[in-house]
């Protein structure tokens, strides 16, 4: 057992698992301190996620955008960029999807792909700006993407209200041919909002993995991210690759927006402030080790905490406990170096 934990080869998945375990332990301690029985709390959480088919469906609904923002942030990390701008890219993506969903009238088999594509393109364009500024003027992407988040929020809120038929809070419904929702999925999950988005997210993870690991394009993007001067030496187009990385990262975030606007809701919403999907994406990417498939799992986990925390509230466990657990998991995941050292020293002291 100890040898298994000490073996560095296993650290890749042992460390995230431990982070999650520690996160839940810390959550339990907080509950005990605040006078809540942690067993009750966690029972409520589990019931809130898989308690009935409807809740089960809502779990997947909550997870899909998180998987996409996770992929977005991870794509940045893998190619040497810190994309804090997933939030803004998500907002423009969700809006673009709705616009195409309302105003273009074509059969579903064209419409839906078109809607998704426009979300991806909108996100990519929002990512182009920081990418371009970084490549051309060496402006750090963190600064620019944060700025772009605010611009997106206010600009898109304004644009939604300006669409014909919009109220102060939302746009009109998109055409049915543009929606990801499915009567079938909804029916088998007792009328949850479950839609096809989850499959698209899995597809997204596969595309992520394929680009990064299997293509010369991904090889170049990683190379440029790790060492721009060596990439230049090897004849790669460094600036172009920085811009493309940021755009692809933005495209994933844009698709996260489509998950919400043409999956969960079927209309565009005016929101008061950012909903935090972008920042959650950082957590998802971190816990998922920036690898496509692990991100599906970590996205599901954070989706569960998000979906389950309202159920916890019903069992008179404060909703914030869910957030606290998330925060602890991220904290431990970010401390992975420390955990690795701890594992490496395991058992040594006893000798």
């Amino acid at each position: 057992m100890i040898d298994f934990l000490r073996n560095e080869k296993n650290h890749k998945f042992v460390v995230p698992l431990l982070s999650v375990l520690f996160g839940f332990l810390a959550g339990a301690i907080i509950m005990i301190i605040t006078g809540i029985n942690p067993l009750e709390g966690y029972r409520a959480l589990v019931k809130g996620v898989v308690g009935n088919p409807r809740k089960f469906g809502e779990w997947f609904v909550a997870s899909s955008p998180l998987i996409f923002t996770g992929l977005s942030v991870a794509f940045g990390f893998r190619t040497g960029l810190f994309n804090i701008g997933a939030e803004g890219q998500l907002i423009v993506g969700s809006f673009a999807a709705v616009v195409v969903g309302i105003f273009v009238d074509v059969p579903a088999y064209i419409h839906l792909p078109l809607v998704l594509m426009s979300a991806a393109v909108a996100g990519a364009l929002w990512g182009f700006v920081p990418g371009f500024l970084k490549a051309k003027y060496k402006v750090h992407e963190v600064v620019v993407t944060i700025m772009m988040n605010y611009s997106a929020l206010h600009l898109i809120n304004y644009a939604i209200k300006a669409l014909p038929g919009s109220t102060k809070t939302r746009s009109v419904d998109i055409l049915p041919s543009a929606s990801l929702s499915s009567e079938f999925l909804s029916n088998i999950t007792n009328h949850s909002r479950l839609h096809w988005g989850f499959l698209i997210a899995v597809l997204g993870a596969i595309v992520f993995w394929f680009i990064i690991e299997r293509t010369t394009f991904g090889y170049e993007l990683r190379s440029v991210g790790f060492n721009p001067t060596a990439s230049e030496y090897a004849g790669m187009k460094v600036n172009r690759n920085i811009i493309l990385s940021m755009m692809i990262s933005g495209a994933f975030a844009g698709l996260a927006g489509a998950m919400i606007s043409v999956g969960t809701f079927d209309y565009a919403r005016v929101i008061a402030s950012a909903e935090g999907y972008g920042f959650d994406g950082i957590a998802v990417a971190l816990l998922g080790n920036n690898s496509g498939f692990a991100i599906i799992i970590s996205g599901m986990l954070f989706g569960a905490l998000k979906a389950g925390s309202s159920a916890m509230a019903l069992a008179s466990v404060p909703k914030e406990i869910g957030h606290i657990i998330m925060a602890f998991i991220v904290l431990f995941a970010a401390m992975n170096y420390g955990i690795k050292r701890f594992l490496a020293r395991l058992g040594k002291e006893e000798k």
Partner: protein
């Protein structure tokens, strides 16, 4: 106290490799103790154990006769152990003083008293003949000076045992002899020194005793006085090493590279290459000799497409490549072993296999229609590490960062020579390599030449230039001041030319 440092039966493992296998090293007070071993033998690892960066799996360490447990570098500092790493650890936009006091700032009512520190540093600097300006910024001083700052850092912390990990690999010959003097002065003042170097001459020049390790194992400790360079080399490599490079006469053919009136600016916007003309032909090795900083780096970067050219013309195999991008030049037939392996040569976070196809990943068979072929890449990588004896813990799967410096260098050389480019530009190709590896690389360069390829060798080591080249061009202040036949060249003659004297130009060239 017979020994100031004793490392007894040290064992340190990394995934897939035992870097130190039962190694013993005993250092006497006041001596310069050399640590010699092939690339990847485990020298840096052993020193990192002594400095508290790694924890050994087995063995004990005694300092001044007492058992100690060095779990981190602060403890090492406390015991009077200091280390100058292979790659310096300085803050570039800080001054010398700020760098030296970093972590040990002398405070007065909570405020840092820089003036006091600067004065102390000046005194230390004077005492040991270091000649460092405490108020200069790191980014403005030479590599040699930066190294002295690292030395001062140790002295400021009252270190008595000084570890130097390949200090001379980055220095010019002039700086090397100055460093040797500094070391002699340090031991005279009572310090003890552990010196890692691949250059046997340096060991002969300053060291008292030498411990040899090979593939992680202890071989022997000898008195330097009684051991010739040949003996040291064969102890280290385990076979005889030949120091003279054997080669037939060159058989030069058509012109491969033609440079006319080349002007290139350096990063300070001065003309580093200043109207340089040169021609390299197929089937010859042309060596460029010169004192560091006379435009060699800028010349290489301009030739390979990494630096913009102000004026002049570069012709590669009949193509005008003056304004051609890097990729295109590579495809016309250019290979490049860069001087700085970490800046240009490798993506340290890539696996070794990925680095070995850094120039060819987009070509068949390594990829097709943009899809990588992992099998082919692995096959090639395995072939290269076998042929060039690139050693590491997990073979082609090793993260390049975890490899020893010399083996990183061998990986680059393997990648570039294997492509057999029509023109190979080799910038200090053997920097940081052990004598066995150097012999092998030199042989490879000559093989390329004999295949009819052209090699442009740029090196600060006159020995290397004189041994390997067929013709030698001397660069001075951005110009070629003369070209001589290597066979006829003498060290004195080259030395004069490198200092700017132009009297030794070839017949007919005289103005």
């Amino acid at each position: 106290m017979e020994y100031i440092i004793e490392m007894l039966n040290i064992r340190k493992e990394f995934p897939g490799i035992v870097a130190n296998d039962n190694i013993t090293l005993q250092v006497k007070p006041g001596e310069i103790h050399a640590l010699l071993g092939e690339n990847g033998a485990g020298k840096s690892t052993l020193m990192s154990v002594l400095f508290g960066l790694y924890q050994p799996e087995a063995g004990e360490i005694k300092v001044r006769g007492e058992n100690v447990n060095i779990t981190d570098p602060n403890i090492a500092n406390g015991l009077g152990i200091g280390m100058v790493h292979q790659h310096f650890k300085l803050v570039h936009n800080f001054t010398v003083t700020e760098n030296i006091i970093l972590g040990q700032e002398p405070t007065e009512n909570g405020r840092i008293n820089t003036q006091k520190a600067a004065k102390e540093i000046k005194e230390l600097s004077k005492k040991y003949g270091l000649d460092v300006d405490p108020s200069a910024k790191i980014e403005d001083i030479t590599v040699g000076m930066q190294q002295r700052v690292e030395i001062l850092k140790m002295l400021y912390r009252n270190a008595e045992i000084l570890i130097f990990d390949e200090p001379t690999a980055v220095l010019t010959p002039q700086e090397i002899s100055e460093l040797m003097d500094i070391m002699r002065r340090l031991v005279k003042e009572g310090k003890s020194i552990i010196l890692i170097t691949h250059k046997l001459k340096e060991i002969k020049a300053v060291a008292d005793r030498c411990t040899i390790i090979r593939r992680g194992k202890y071989i022997d400790t000898v008195d330097v006085e009684d051991a010739s360079e040949e003996v040291l080399a064969s102890l280290m490599v385990g076979r005889e090493v030949s120091f003279v490079v054997e080669k037939e006469d060159a058989n030069p053919k058509e012109s491969v590279l033609k440079i006319t009136g080349l002007v290139v600016k350096d990063s300070r916007d001065l003309n580093a290459v200043n109207g340089l003309c040169l021609e390299v032909r197929a089937g010859e090795i042309l060596g460029i000799a010169g004192v560091d900083g006379n435009g060699q780096s800028e010349l290489i970067e301009a030739l390979t497409g990494l630096r913009k050219i102000e004026s002049g013309k570069i012709e590669l195999l009949g193509h005008d490549v003056t304004n051609t991008n890097v990729r295109k030049r590579t495809e016309i037939g250019l290979g490049h072993i860069p001087q700085d392996r970490h800046k240009h040569g490798l993506v340290l976070d890539f696996k070794l296999a990925e680095n070995l196809v850094l120039q060819t990943y987009y070509m068949q068979p390594y990829s097709k229609n943009g899809i990588l072929n992992a099998e082919e890449i692995k096959k090639k990588a395995q072939e290269l590490i076998d042929e060039f004896d690139v050693r590491s813990g997990q073979g082609i799967e090793t993260t390049t960062r975890a490899m020893s410096g010399g083996n990183q260098q061998k990986a680059i050389v393997a990648r570039e020579i294997d492509r057999s480019p029509k023109l190979l530009i080799a910038g200090q190709p053997t920097r940081g390599l052990d004598v066995g590896a150097i012999e092998f690389i030199h042989k490879k360069l000559i093989e390329e030449r004999d295949k009819g390829k052209a090699v442009l060798l740029v090196s600060l080591e006159l020995d290397e230039i004189m041994n390997v080249s067929d013709r030698i061009a001397v660069i001075y202040e951005g110009k070629i001041v003369g070209v001589v036949e290597a066979q006829k060249a003498t060290e004195q003659q080259l030395g004069l030319m490198m200092a700017g004297s132009t009297t030794d130009k070839e017949e007919g060239d005289r103005k």
